[in-house]
């Protein structure tokens, strides 16, 4: 399970002895654990979202509350989860997403699934959008963003159950004025030779004159967007995350890497399970090239970088 220490999530590396002790303790205090109310320590408090009617007779209030249940109410948060054949994990993911904030809608975009993903998501309390064909992760996010109504859009994946405490910081950052809140995750930088996608992410941030972002990118989940960010980037562009990233940075949005969740460690098992090179990495790598093409097309061939004292006319 993930532990939270400071602003970073760690895996607890417990010794066998410590594990056994913890298990015993858990067993002893099981009933209390069940009974206890949920501790919303890191999640968004409910004060934030509901604006009570200023001039409120009880009747009027009841009316607004009734309105809340209908579709006209815009929730504070939309959690967007693309899922394809993910019935084993989707339940946990949705439950964590629902814990972040009371005024939230959780959209699960079930695409190309042949198992009980949709049913499991519905059971856990999510709204389900169904697509017969596979959309891919990014396609699912694009569709979800188009359907979302929340002030804050949080994107996560169906295969990694990230605790709500580690999702809330992204939402928090958006509420505090950031437009694009990214996972402060650089990828496996220590591997030798380095992975091409990691290299591309770093290169793209350098080209966008944001080397401080290092390897943080909209390719990685979780990340959150504000409504303004969605407008600037455009819903369709979300289908190509590096391009969306480039548009966000050049569009003058506040892009920040806010919280670290080691997603690489969490889905490492799956990568190992499948043999051979991951076909996704080639697609992501090409996406970065698309983003660079967009930069050079819109900002000129030098992407807005200076030529210093170079007098090019001399060489002609």
């Amino acid at each position: 399970m993930l532990q939270k220490r400071g602003n970073t999530a760690f895996y607890a590396a417990k010794s066998k002895m410590a594990q056994r002790k913890a298990q015993l303790k858990k067993r002893r205090s099981k009933s209390a654990y069940k009974k206890g109310t949920k501790a919303y320590k890191y999640v968004i408090p409910p004060v934030e979202q509901t604006e009570w009617p200023v001039f409120g007779a009880e009747h009027a209030m009841r009316e607004t509350l009734a309105q809340d249940t209908t579709n006209s109410h815009k929730p504070l948060l939309s959690v967007i989860i693309p899922a394809m054949n993910e019935e084993r994990t989707i339940g946990a993911v949705v439950r964590q997403a629902l814990r972040i904030c009371r005024d939230a809608e959780v959209l699960v975009i079930v695409n190309g699934s042949t198992d009980g993903t949709a049913a499991a998501a519905k059971r856990a309390g999510a709204q389900v959008l169904r697509y017969a064909e596979a959309l891919g992760h990014d396609g699912g996010r694009r569709v979800g963003a188009a359907a979302a109504r929340g002030r804050v859009l949080l994107f996560t994946d169906a295969d990694i159950p990230i605790p709500a405490e580690h999702l809330a910081p992204y939402v928090r950052a958006i509420l505090d004025g950031t437009d694009v809140a990214l996972n402060d995750y650089n990828g496996p930088v220590a591997r030798i030779p380095v992975h091409p996608v990691v290299e591309a992410k770093h290169a793209l941030n350098s080209m966008l004159a944001r080397p401080d972002l290092q390897g943080a990118s909209m390719t990685a989940i979780p990340h959150a967007l504000s409504r303004k960010a969605l407008e600037v980037i455009g819903t369709d562009t979300l289908g190509v995350p590096p391009l969306a990233h480039a548009k966000a940075v050049t569009g003058g949005l506040k892009v920040r890497a806010v919280h670290h969740v080691p997603v690489g460690k969490m889905n490492a098992v799956r990568v190992k399970k499948r043999g051979g090179p991951d076909p996704l990495s080639q697609v992501v790598w090409n996406d970065h090239l698309k983003a660079i093409r967009w930069i050079t097309d819109t900002l000129g061939p030098r992407g807005g970088h200076s030529d210093l004292q170079r007098v090019r006319s001399l060489t002609r």
Binding site: M84, N85, E86, N111, G112, T114, D115, E133, A134, L135, G136, H137, D138, G139, V189, A190, I192, V194, P196, V198, E199, A200, H202, A203, S206, M207, A209, P211, G239, R274, D278, P279, L280, Q282, V283, W285, N286, L289, I292, R293, I295, T296, P301, R302, G303, G304, H305, S306, D307, L308, Q309, R310, V311, R312, L314, T315, R316
Partner: protein, 371 residues
């Protein structure tokens, strides 16, 4: 100097003793002698006869040196050139050639009775060097002295925006082509200017602010002379692992990967020294040299032979200025802009066709998640 801890040293010598028992019986003298020579020691044994031959040929030539009219360096070079042409079939690679050249020169010096301060390098085509300098009065003279030791037909010094004594430093040396540009034009523009000034087949590019021994420059000339088009400085082993690299090194590696030459690592035309062939300069046009990464990508795209034959440590000895320190500095921004430009031209010329036929997202999703 950093001192090595005695414990480590003992360990290392002990390890060497155990791995090579044969050297022990030969005594201490032979051990030091063999360690002095290059790593090609094993190959050298087979070439011993060649070296002897080179030595005696040098002696023969050296005896004639006294009665010769022309300068003794010139004579030594031309005679070595002749001899090298005769035995070139037996010499494989740069190190073997250099060993033979050294043997020849030793013989020559032995017979002529005086030592020669030149590099025994036999080039088949005319070669020139381009030195780009701004305010480098302290080092420029030394740089030129080192270049004079190489068999170059021409040395071109491009001075731009000089405000100190650099000009007189150049004028002191005979036989140098000077390009004087009163205003600052940038290092890369200077190199492009210099490249236009000569017709030589091989061009070596160095900077005026860094004295590099001629021995370390020779491999670049040799590589281009024997058929490479671009010989880059091989800095791969000097760089830290990716996590600790600066953004410029990362982006250089990224460009090489985009060009499908990830084997080149972070080696780039941005770094000196490097050597280019005339063929390469004509293919990419001298203007392109003003943006080195662009020239590199054009060269690779035109199918020219780009290699990184040798290493010169320019990282440690590079002069630190306020503009080139730290991340996000002006020079870094310039270089990143250059790389963007390089990728932009590459994309314009349809460079990503080979990668464009990758599979679609939906297909990837089916491959990863279908059951």
């Amino acid at each position: 100097m950093k001192e090595r801890s005695p414990g480590v040293r003992r360990q290392r010598t002990a390890g060497r003793r155990t791995t090579r028992p044969g050297t022990r019986s030969m005594g201490k003298k032979s051990l030091t002698k063999s360690s002095l020579k290059s790593s090609a020691a094993s190959r050298l044994a087979t070439n011993r006869s060649v070296l002897h031959e080179a030595f005696s040929a040098g002696q023969r030539a050296g005896r004639k040196a006294l009665e010769n009219e022309q300068s003794i360096e010139q004579h030594a070079r031309s005679t070595w050139q002749e001899h090298e042409a005769a035995i070139s079939a037996e010499l494989r690679g740069y190190s073997a050639t250099v060993q033979a050249g050294k043997a020849f020169l030793q013989g020559y010096a032995h017979a002529a009775g005086r030592s020669l301060n030149i590099i025994p390098l036999a080039l088949n085509k005319p070669a020139a060097a381009v030195v780009c300098a701004c305010n480098e009065e302290l080092t420029l003279g030394q740089v030129l002295v080192q270049l004079k030791r190489l068999p170059l037909t021409d040395i071109i010094v491009v001075l731009n925006g000089t405000t100190d004594n650099s000009l007189s430093q150049v004028l002191e040396q005979p036989g140098i082509t000077l390009v004087y540009e009163p205003d600052r034009a940038g290092h890369d523009v200077g190199r492009a200017l210099g490249a236009k000034m000569t017709e030589a087949e091989t061009l070596l590019f160095v900077d005026g602010d860094m004295v590099i021994p001629a021995e370390q420059l020779a491999p670049f000339l040799y590589a281009v002379d024997r058929g490479d088009d671009v010989a880059l400085n091989n800095l791969s082993s000097l760089l830290p692992p990716f996590a600790r690299q600066d953004e410029v090194s990362r982006i250089k590696a990224y460009l090489n990967r985009v060009l499908n030459r990830s084997d080149l690592g972070s080696n780039s035309l941005t770094a000196v020294p490097h050597a280019l062939s005339r063929n390469m300069i004509q293919t990419v046009k001298p203007e392109a040299l003003a943006v080195p990464p662009k020239a590199q990508s054009l060269a690779i795209q035109h199918g020219l032979k780009v290699t990184a034959p040798s290493q010169v440590d320019v990282i440690r000895s590079n002069r630190l200025r306020s503009t080139n320190m730290g991340s996000g500095n002006e020079v870094a921004r310039l270089i990143i802009g250059d790389h963007l430009e390089a990728i932009a031209t590459w994309l314009e010329m349809g460079g990503n066709k080979s990668q464009a036929r990758s599979i679609s997202r939906a297909e990837v999703a089916y491959r990863r998640n279908a059951r």
